[in-house]
C-alpha cells in the first residue's frame, strides 16, 4: 500500500512539473487533452479492465456531460461549478437506470447494446437543434473561474484539469485495492463464482457502470469549459473506439496504463503529422496487434519483455 502511495506521489510530481519543461506553448494545450482523455480511459478501464464489462458507448456519456454543462451555462447562464455536479449526477442516474437491463447482457451482446446506446445519444445531439445547436455545435460556453481568476489560459486549464484527473486516479487506485475492487475482479474472472461467494454481481456491475459514466460526464464538463465550444462530432462512435484503444494499449486493469494509453494516442497525431490522416488505420491496426500479441497492454508487456531479455542474457552468462 505504501509502495502504491509512493508511486502516486512520483506521478503527481511529474504531472506538476511537466509544464515547466514545455514553458507554455502549443503542447500545453495537448497536455490538457491528455488529462481529459486519461480521466475517460480510467472510467472505461474501471468497467472493462476491472469488471470485464465492455462498453462501446462511453463517448455518449462524455458528450452528455459536455452538453448538459454547455447548455445550462451558455444558454441558461447557471454557475458552472453548480452545473458540474448536477450534470455528472444526472448522467450517473441515467447510466444507473440503463445499467440494469443493459448489463444483463454479456460479451458481444453487451458490446452491441452499448454501441446502440451511444449512437442513439449521438443522434439526439445532432437532431435536437433547438438545444444543442445540431451539427454546427454549441459555442459561448464560459470558462471555469474561482473568484476573479478565470481558467482561460492553457497553463491554468492544465492545472485545473489535472487536479480532477489526479483526483480520479487516486480514487480509482483506492477503489481497485478495496473490497469492491476485489469483488470486481472476481466478477471479471467468473461472475458465477463471484455470486456464489456472496458478491451481489448484478448491483455491483450497474454501480460501476454508473460510476464510470459519472467520471466520463465530469470529463465532459471539463472539456466543454476548456474548449468553450462543442459539436457532436467529438462524441461519436469513433471516439468510443479511440477510448477503447487507449485502454487496450495501456493495459486492461491498470490505472497508470490508462494514462499511458491516453497520452500515447493523444500525442501521436501531434508528433506524427502523417498520423492525422491515417489515425483510424493506426487505431484499428493497434487494436488487433495488441489483442493478438500483447494482451496485457504496454504496462505489462514491456516490463515482461525486459525481464525476459535480462534472463536470457543471465542464462547465457551461466552456460
Amino acid at each position: 500500500m505504501k509502495k502504491e502511495l509512493f508511486k502516486f506521489l512520483i506521478f503527481t510530481v511529474l504531472i506538476l512539473v511537466a509544464p515547466l519543461a514545455f514553458k507554455g506553448g502549443y503542447l500545453m494545450n495537448v497536455l490538457v487533452f491528455v488529462g481529459i482523455n486519461t480521466m475517460l480511459a480510467i472510467a472505461l478501464n474501471l468497467l472493462l479492465g476491472y469488471c470485464g464489462q465492455i462498453s462501446l458507448g462511453h463517448a455518449g456519456f462524455f458528450g452528455l456531460g459536455a452538453y448538459l454543462s454547455g447548455i445550462l451555462t451558455a444558454t441558461h447562464g447557471l454557475n458552472p461549478w453548480l452545473v458540474m455536479p448536477l450534470a455528472a449526477g444526472l448522467v450517473g442516474l441515467l447510466a444507473y437506470l440503463i445499467g440494469f437491463p443493459i448489463l444483463k447482457l454479456k460479451g458481444h451482446y453487451l458490446a452491441m447494446a452499448t454501441l446502440g446506446m451511444g449512437i442513439i445519444i449521438y443522434i439526439v445531439f445532432n437532431e435536437s437543434v433547438d438545444y444543442t445547436g445540431g451539427p454546427s455545435g454549441l459555442s459561448g460556453i464560459p470558462a471555469l473561474s474561482i473568484g476573479s481568476t478565470s481558467f482561460d489560459s492553457d497553463v491554468k486549464s492544465y492545472y485545473l484539469v489535472w487536479a480532477f484527473t489526479l483526483g480520479v486516479c487516486l480514487f480509482s487506485l483506492n477503489l481497485a485495492n478495496s473490497r469492491v475492487g476485489r469483488a470486481l475482479r472476481a466478477i471479471h474472472d467468473s461472475e458465477i463464482a463471484a455470486r456464489v461467494v456472496g458478491v451481489n454481481a448484478r448491483e455491483l456491475k450497474v454501480r460501476i457502470f454508473a460510476l464510470s459514466a459519472v467520471i466520463s460526464a465530469l470529463a465532459g464538463c471539463l472539456y466543454a469549459h476548456t474548449m468553450t465550444f462543442i459539436s457532436p462530432a467529438s462524441f461519436g462512435f469513433n471516439f468510443s473506439v479511440e477510448l477503447l484503444t487507449m485502454v487496450v494499449i495501456g493495459g486492461l486493469g491498470s490505472i497508470y496504463g490508462s494514462f499511458l494509453g491516453a497520452a500515447l494516442l493523444t500525442l501521436l497525431p501531434e508528433f506524427l503529422r502523417a498520423a492525422h490522416d491515417y489515425d483510424i488505420i493506426i487505431y484499428g491496426g493497434l487494436l488487433m496487434v495488441m489483442v493478438m500479441f500483447m494482451p496485457g497492454g504496454l504496462v505489462r508487456s514491456v516490463p515482461d519483455a525486459v525481464r525476459k531479455l535480462v534472463r536470457l542474457k543471465g542464462g547465457a552468462g551461466n552456460a
Binding site: K104, G107, V124, F237, L244, I280
Partner: protein, 293 residues
C-alpha cells in the same frame, strides 16, 4: 392520401429491409458456426459497393463484370480476415473477439478511405431509373432488383445448408462443434467457409443497395448495425426469421422516417435493437432458451 403514403413507405421499406436481411443472415452464419459477432460485417457491405465502383471506374469493366469481381475480392478479404485476425487469436474470449473485430472493421474502413477518399459515390442503377407505378405508389426498377436478388440468394442459401454435404456439415458445427469434430468434420474449415459465405453475401447486399443510397467509405457501420438488428429480431437464425426481422425493421424505419422525423430514422433501428435485447433476447420468434445473453 394518407393510405397511399403509407403504401409508398412500406414498399420502399421492403427493399431496404431485404438488404438488412441479407446482412443479418451474414451475421447469423458466422455467429452460428463460431459464436462470434463479427463487427466487421458491415465493412464487407461497404467494400462490395466501393469495389464495384473501383472496377467500373479504373478498369472500365461493364457493370455485369464488375459485380462478380467485387464479390470475389470481398470474399478473399473475408478469408484473409479470418486467417489473419480470428484464427491466430490465442485467448478467444468474447471481449477479445469484440475488440479484434472492431479493430479489423476500422482498419478496413481506414484503408478504403485512403484508397478511395472521403467522397460519396453513386453506382449506376442496374436497369434505368424509370419509376414503375403499382396501385398509387411508385417504385424504382432497382427496388425490384433488390427484392429479386435477395430472394435468389436466400433460396441458394437454403439449398446450400439443407442439400449439400458442406452445408450440412456447417449446420452440424452450429449445433455442436465438438460433436461435429468427432464425426470427422473439419470444424476450422467450416469456420472459414462461414466467413466466405457471409462476406460474399455482405458484398452482394452492398452492391445492390449502392445505386439507391450512394456509397462511401463509412456506410458500413450503419448498414452493419442495422443488419445485426435484423438478426437479433430473428433470434440469430440464418433463415426466414432473420428475413422477416429485416423486413420488419426496413418497413418500421421507412414509416418512422416518413411519418415521424427523418432525422431520427437511424435511431429507430437502435431503439428496436435495445428493446429486443432487453425484453426478448432470444428474438421475436424464438423459444426462451437464451443462454446467449
Amino acid at each position: 392520401m394518407q393510405l397511399d403514403q403509407i403504401l409508398q413507405f412500406a414498399l420502399s421499406g421492403l427493399s431496404t429491409g431485404a438488404i438488412y436481411a441479407l446482412i443479418g443472415i451474414g451475421f447469423s452464419i458466422i455467429y452460428n458456426s463460431t459464436g462470434i459477432i463479427n463487427f466487421a460485417q458491415g465493412e464487407f457491405v461497404m467494400l462490395g459497393g466501393m469495389l464495384t465502383l473501383f472496377f467500373i471506374g479504373l478498369l472500365q469493366l461493364p457493370l455485369w463484370a464488375a459485380i462478380p469481381c467485387a464479390v470475389l475480392v470481398c470474399t478473399l478479404a473475408g478469408m484473409l480476415f479470418e486467417r489473419l485476425a480470428i484464427r491466430p487469436l490465442r485467448k478467444p474470449t468474447p471481449i477479445n473477439l469484440v475488440i479484434i473485430t472492431i479493430g479489423g472493421s476500422i482498419f478496413i474502413r481506414g484503408l478504403s478511405m485512403l484508397l478511395w477518399g472521403k467522397d460519396t459515390h453513386s453506382l449506376p442503377s442496374f436497369s434505368g431509373d424509370e419509376p414503375i407505378t403499382i396501385a398509387n405508389a411508385t417504385i424504382l426498377p432497382q427496388h425490384l432488383w433488390i427484392l429479386g436478388i435477395t430472394l435468389v440468394i436466400i433460396g441458394a442459401n437454403k439449398f446450400f445448408f439443407y442439400h449439400t454435404i458442406s452445408g450440412k456439415a456447417m449446420r452440424a458445427c452450429s449445433y455442436n462443434s465438438r460433436a461435429a469434430g468427432l464425426v470427422g468434420i473439419d470444424v476450422r474449415r467450416m469456420v472459414l467457409f462461414s466467413f466466405v459465405i457471409s462476406s460474399a453475401m455482405g458484398a452482394m447486399a452492398g452492391i445492390i443497395v449502392a445505386p439507391l443510397t450512394m456509397t462511401s467509405y463509412d456506410v458500413g457501420i450503419m448498414l452493419g448495425l442495422k443488419g445485426f438488428c435484423a438478426a437479433i429480431i430473428g433470434g440469430m437464425s440464418s433463415g426466414i426469421a432473420t428475413v422477416i426481422g429485416g423486413l420488419i425493421l426496413g418497413i418500421l424505419e421507412s414509416l418512422g422516417a416518413g411519418l415521424i422525423s427523418s432525422g431520427y430514422k437511424d435511431a429507430i433501428a437502435f431503439i428496436i435493437l435495445l428493446l429486443i435485447l432487453f425484453i426478448r433476447p432470444q428474438g421475436l420468434f424464438g423459444k426462451a432458451e437464451s443462454e446467449r445473453v
